[in-house]
C-alpha cells in the first residue's frame, strides 16, 4: 500500500494534545485584546475578530471539548482554519497553546479510543503517539459541522 504523508499542527487544550491537518490552517494568531461578542450565539462561540478586514468567528475549543474555562490564558492562540472542501467557512479556534508541526504517515494514526463522548466532538480521525504523548487528530470538516449547528 502506498504511504501517505500527512502534516499536522498540534495544540494543547488543558492537559490533552490535539491536532488538525496543517494544510487547512490559514493563520495562527495571538489572542487579540478584543473578541467582539455576538449576542444570542451558542456558548462556545467567543465572538468575531477582524482578520485583515475579514470577519472571522472564533470558537472556544475548551468549551467545545467540555473543559473548564480558565481566565488567564497568556499562551492562548487562535488557529484560523480554512476547510478545503467547504466554501466561506473560515473559522478561528481558540486553543491553550499551539505546540508544533508534525510530519508523519497516515498509517501512524491509530484508532482513537474514547469513553463516551468527548465534549461535542463525536469522532476523531485517529490518535498518534508522538514524543510519548497521545495526539488526537480532529477532523476539520466534522468540527466545522459541529460549530455550524
Amino acid at each position: 500500500m502506498e504511504t501517505q504523508n500527512i502534516t499536522l499542527l498540534s495544540f494543547k487544550i488543558q492537559d490533552d494534545l490535539f491536532a488538525v491537518d496543517a494544510l487547512q490552517v490559514d493563520h495562527i494568531l495571538e489572542l487579540p485584546p478584543i473578541i467582539t461578542a455576538v449576542p444570542n450565539t451558542p456558548h462556545y462561540m467567543k465572538g468575531i475578530i477582524n482578520l485583515h478586514g475579514n470577519i472571522i468567528p472564533v470558537a472556544d475549543m475548551r468549551l467545545i471539548m467540555d473543559k473548564e474555562v480558565q481566565d488567564k490564558r497568556s499562551d492562548a492562540s487562535i488557529i484560523v482554519l480554512n476547510p478545503s472542501n467547504i466554501q466561506d467557512a473560515r473559522i478561528g479556534i481558540l486553543v491553550d497553546v499551539v505546540e508544533e508541526v508534525i510530519e508523519t504517515k497516515k498509517e501512524a494514526l491509530k484508532e482513537t479510543i474514547t469513553e463516551g463522548k468527548k465534549g461535542l466532538i463525536e469522532h476523531f480521525e485517529g490518535t498518534l503517539v508522538f514524543n510519548e504523548d497521545f495526539v488526537h487528530v480532529i477532523n476539520i470538516a466534522h468540527l466545522c459541522e459541529i460549530i455550524e449547528k
Binding site: T36, A37, P39, N40, N50, H52, G53, I55, E148
Partner: protein, 677 residues
C-alpha cells in the same frame, strides 16, 4: 478538475445563449441580415461543440438539430419567418434548461426533449417540402463550386500553453483528416533537450495539407476552441487535390527535414487565379474586430473582485489609523504622506467598487423575452422601450432585482395593456407602450416601469380591500393610500388566477423582496391612462450610512435610512412607562430595549439613555440604546455561515480603529419582536 471546466463552459455558454437571444431579437426586425444569421449559427456551433466536449451530450444533440435549421437558413434553403424565430426562442429556453441541469435523467424531461427534437425535424421537413424549388435552385447554384476538391495548407502553430487547457492537438488533427485526404507534417525542431523540457508545455507545430470539398470555414471551425491559443493560417494552395503529386511530396519531405515551414509561395506554380480575394479579407477584418472587442473587457471571477474590495476596505481602514497617528505626531512630512495615501486609497476604493458593479443590461434580455412571449400569447401589441440599460448596479442587487421586475412587467402586460380592439375603442393607438427607465438620482438608482394601459381603478381596489377586510368600509383614504393597498399582503386584484401574474405572488412579495435589497417601491396610476411603478434602490449593498450606537460593551450600527428621529431620555422617563411604551411629546410609542435583546446585564446604571425611533411598516418604534456615538459610512461584511442563524444582525462592520461593530437589521428586529408578542 473537470467540474471547474464544466462551470467555465456553462458560464461561457450562458454568454453564448445571451448573444444568441440578442441576435435573434435583431433578426426578428431584419430577417434577411446574413451577418446575424451567421452569428446565430456560430453561437449554436460553439454550444454544440463545447457541449460534447464537456459532457453535455443532450445539449450537444439538441443544438445539433437546431444548428441544422440555421445551416439551411445560412445556405438559403430556408427562409427566416416569425414561426422560425418563435421556435428558436423556445429552443433557447430548452438550451438554458439543459445548461442548468446537465444531461437529463427524468423520463418526462427526456420525452420533452425528444418531442422538441421532433418538432425541429418536422419544421425542417415541413419547410423543405413547401419551398423546395427555391431551395433546390440555390443549392444547385452553390453546388458546382463546392463539389470540386481544393487543397488547403494549414499552418497550426500553437502557443506553449495550449496543453494546459486540456486541449489535445492530435484530436484537432484527426478532425482535419476527417474532412478529406490530408497530409500532416509535424515539426519538432523547437523541442528542447530533455533537461530543459517543461512537461506541460507544447513545443510542436504542425502543417497540414488537406484536400477537401468542404469550405474554408469548416476547417476554421475545427480550430474554433483554440484560435486564441495559436497562430493559425489557412490558405488555399490549389484548386484540386495535389496530395498525390510527386513534386508536392518532395517539397513536404524537404520541409520537415530542414524544419522550414511551407509557405503559400511554395505552391505558386500550382496556384491558379487568386481565390476569393475580398471575401477572406472582410473575414479577417471581422475577426480582428472581434479580437479587439475581446481585449476591451476581461472575465474575472466575482470571488477575485470580492477579494479586491476586501483588501481595499482594509487599506482604507489602515489609512484611517495612519492619518490619526500623523495628526498626533504633528510631523509635517508624516502629515503630507498620510494625506497622499488618503487620496490614493480613496481613488482605489472608488475604482474597486466600480468594478464590482455590473450593467443592468445583462438582465434586460429576460425582460424583452417576457414582453415578447406574453404579448404574443395574449394577442397584444406592445412596444417595449428600455432606457438606461447601461446603468450599473451591485451584482447582489441585480440578482435580487430580477424577479420583482419580472413580476411588475407581467402585471403591466397582463392587467395594464389592453388588446388592440379595446385600445382603439378607448381612443388610443392600437400598439401599447411599456417604458423601462433606469437612472441615477443622488446616491440612489431609480427604476421606473410605466405603461399606457388601462391603469388601476382606485374604487375597485377600495371595494376589494373592504371585501377582504383589509380596511373599514368607511375608512377615509386618499387615492394614493388606496393604491398602496396593493402592497399589503393578502391582496390580489383578479378573481380568476391568471396564467400570468396571479401565481400566488402578489405585489406584497415584490415589496418585501425589494426591501431585502433596501429598495422601496411606489405606484402611481390614472384610470384609463396608465400606471407608473417606481423603485428606488441603493447603488451598492456593501456600504451603508449608519448610526453608531453603544449597547453594553459592544457597538452597533443602525442604518440611517431606517431612522426617523433621535431622543435623549432621562432614566426617569422610562420608569414611568409601563408595558414597554414610552411617552415622547405626548405620544405613545412602543420600544425595544436593545440591552434585553442582546442580553446585556443591567448591572451598571444608565445615566443617559437614547431612544432611536425607527420606521417600519409605517409605524414608529423606539430602540433604547446606551449611547449614540456618531454617524458613519461603513462597509458591511457578512457574518458568514457559522453565524447565519443570527437573524437580527445583518453583518459586521470594521471601524477605523480596527474594532468591530455589528449591523442591526431593524426590519427583522421589529418583526421578531412583534412575533414574540
Amino acid at each position: 478538475m473537470i467540474d471547474k471546466f464544466r462551470a467555465k463552459f456553462v458560464e461561457e455558454s450562458t454568454d453564448n445563449v445571451h448573444d444568441l437571444e440578442e441576435a435573434l431579437f435583431l433578426l426578428e426586425k431584419d430577417m434577411d441580415n446574413k451577418e446575424l444569421i451567421e452569428r446565430i449559427f456560430r453561437a449554436m456551433h460553439s454550444l454544440k461543440g463545447g457541449g460534447a466536449m464537456f459532457g453535455f451530450n443532450h445539449l450537444s444533440e439538441f443544438t445539433h438539430h437546431l444548428e441544422t435549421i440555421f445551416d439551411w437558413v445560412r445556405t438559403n434553403k430556408l427562409k427566416v419567418t416569425t414561426d422560425l424565430i418563435t421556435l428558436t426562442f423556445s429552443a433557447i429556453d430548452q438550451i438554458k434548461f439543459l445548461l442548468k441541469t446537465g444531461d437529463l435523467s427524468a423520463a418526462e424531461d427526456l420525452n420533452a426533449q425528444q418531442n422538441f427534437i421532433q418538432r425541429l425535424q418536422a419544421f425542417l421537413s415541413g419547410e423543405g417540402s413547401t419551398g423546395p424549388s427555391g431551395a433546390a435552385a440555390s443549392q444547385t447554384a452553390a453546388a458546382p463550386e463546392e463539389s470540386d476538391e481544393k487543397t488547403y495548407l494549414i499552418s497550426f502553430i500553437p502557443q506553449k500553453e495550449l496543453l494546459q487547457n486540456g486541449t489535445n492537438p492530435l484530436y484537432l488533427l484527426d478532425d482535419i483528416h476527417a474532412l478529406g485526404q490530408a497530409l500532416t507534417l509535424a515539426y519538432t525542431h523547437k523541442v528542447p533537450s530533455l533537461d530543459l523540457i517543461d512537461a506541460e508545455a507544447n513545443y510542436c507545430l504542425w502543417q497540414i495539407l488537406v484536400s477537401t470539398a468542404e469550405s474554408i470555414n469548416e476547417i476554421k471551425d475545427v480550430f474554433i476552441f483554440v484560435e486564441d491559443e495559436c497562430e493559425l493560417h489557412i490558405d488555399q494552395v490549389a484548386g484540386r487535390n495535389i496530395l498525390q503529386d510527386k513534386e508536392v511530396l518532395e517539397k513536404t519531405e524537404k520541409a520537415v527535414k530542414n524544419s522550414t515551414l511551407l509557405t503559400v509561395e511554395d505552391f505558386k506554380l500550382e496556384n491558379q487565379a487568386p481565390v476569393a480575394g475580398p471575401a477572406p479579407q472582410t473575414e479577417e477584418k471581422k475577426k480582428a474586430a472581434i479580437k479587439e472587442h475581446k481585449i476591451s473587457s476581461i472575465r474575472v471571477s466575482s470571488h477575485k473582485i470580492d477579494e479586491l474590495v476586501t483588501l481595499v476596505s482594509e487599506l482604507v481602514t489602515l489609512q484611517a489609523q495612519l492619518s490619526l497617528y500623523a495628526e498626533n505626531t504633528q510631523d509635517a512630512t508624516m502629515l503630507s504622506m498620510s494625506e497622499n495615501v488618503q487620496k490614493l486609497s480613496r481613488q482605489l476604493r472608488e475604482n474597486a467598487f466600480d468594478i464590482s458593479l455590473i450593467p443592468l443590461q445583462s438582465e434586460l434580455m429576460r425582460f424583452q423575452r417576457l414582453v415578447r412571449d406574453l404579448s404574443k400569447d395574449q394577442g397584444k401589441d406592445i412596444d417595449f422601450v428600455i432606457e438606461g440599460g447601461d446603468l450599473e448596479l451591485d451584482k447582489n442587487i441585480i440578482e435580487n432585482l430580477t424577479d420583482p421586475l419580472l413580476h411588475i412587467l407581467r402585471n403591466s402586460i397582463d392587467h395594464g395593456i389592453e388588446v388592440p380592439e379595446d385600445r382603439i375603442k378607448a381612443g388610443k393607438a392600437p400598439k401599447g407602450n411599456i417604458l423601462f427607465k433606469a437612472f441615477y438620482s443622488g446616491a440612489n438608482v431609480i427604476i421606473e416601469i410605466s405603461d399606457d394601459g388601462k391603469g388601476i381603478d382606485a374604487e375597485l381596489i377600495r371595494q376589494k380591500a373592504i371585501a377582504k377586510g383589509l380596511i373599514e368600509s368607511d375608512a377615509a383614504l386618499t387615492e394614493k393610500e388606496v393604491l398602496d393597498l396593493i402592497f399589503v399582503s393578502g391582496f390580489s386584484t383578479r378573481e380568476v388566477v391568471s396564467d400570468v401574474s396571479g401565481r400566488g405572488v402578489g405585489m406584497d412579495v415584490v415589496k418585501r423582496k425589494l426591501a431585502n435589497i433596501r429598495g422601496e417601491v411606489s405606484i402611481e396610476s390614472e384610470k384609463g391612462k396608465g400606471t407608473l411603478i417606481s423603485i428606488t434602490l441603493p447603488m451598492t449593498l456593501s456600504i451603508i450610512d449608519g448610526l453608531l450606537v453603544g449597547v453594553g460593551e459592544n457597538q452597533y450600527v443602525i442604518p440611517i435610512s431606517a431612522i426617523d428621529k433621535l431622543y435623549a431620555l432621562q432614566p426617569e422617563q422610562l420608569k414611568q412607562s409601563f408595558n414597554q411604551v414610552v411617552v415622547i411629546d405626548n405620544e405613545q410609542y412602543p420600544y425595544i430595549d436593545l440591552r434585553k435583546v442582546f442580553k446585556v446585564s443591567d448591572a451598571e446604571d444608565r445615566e443617559q439613555l437614547q431612544m432611536i425611533m425607527v420606521k417600519a411598516e409605517d409605524r414608529l418604534t423606539g430602540l433604547l440604546v446606551d449611547a449614540v456615538i456618531g454617524e458613519y459610512q461603513t462597509v458591511v461584511k457578512p457574518l458568514g455561515r457559522y453565524l447565519k442563524k443570527q437573524e437580527i444582525l445583518s453583518g459586521a462592520s470594521i471601524m477605523g480603529d480596527g474594532t468591530i461593530a455589528l449591523v442591526i437589521d431593524t426590519t427583522r428586529l421589529l418583526q421578531k419582536q412583534k412575533n414574540r408578542k
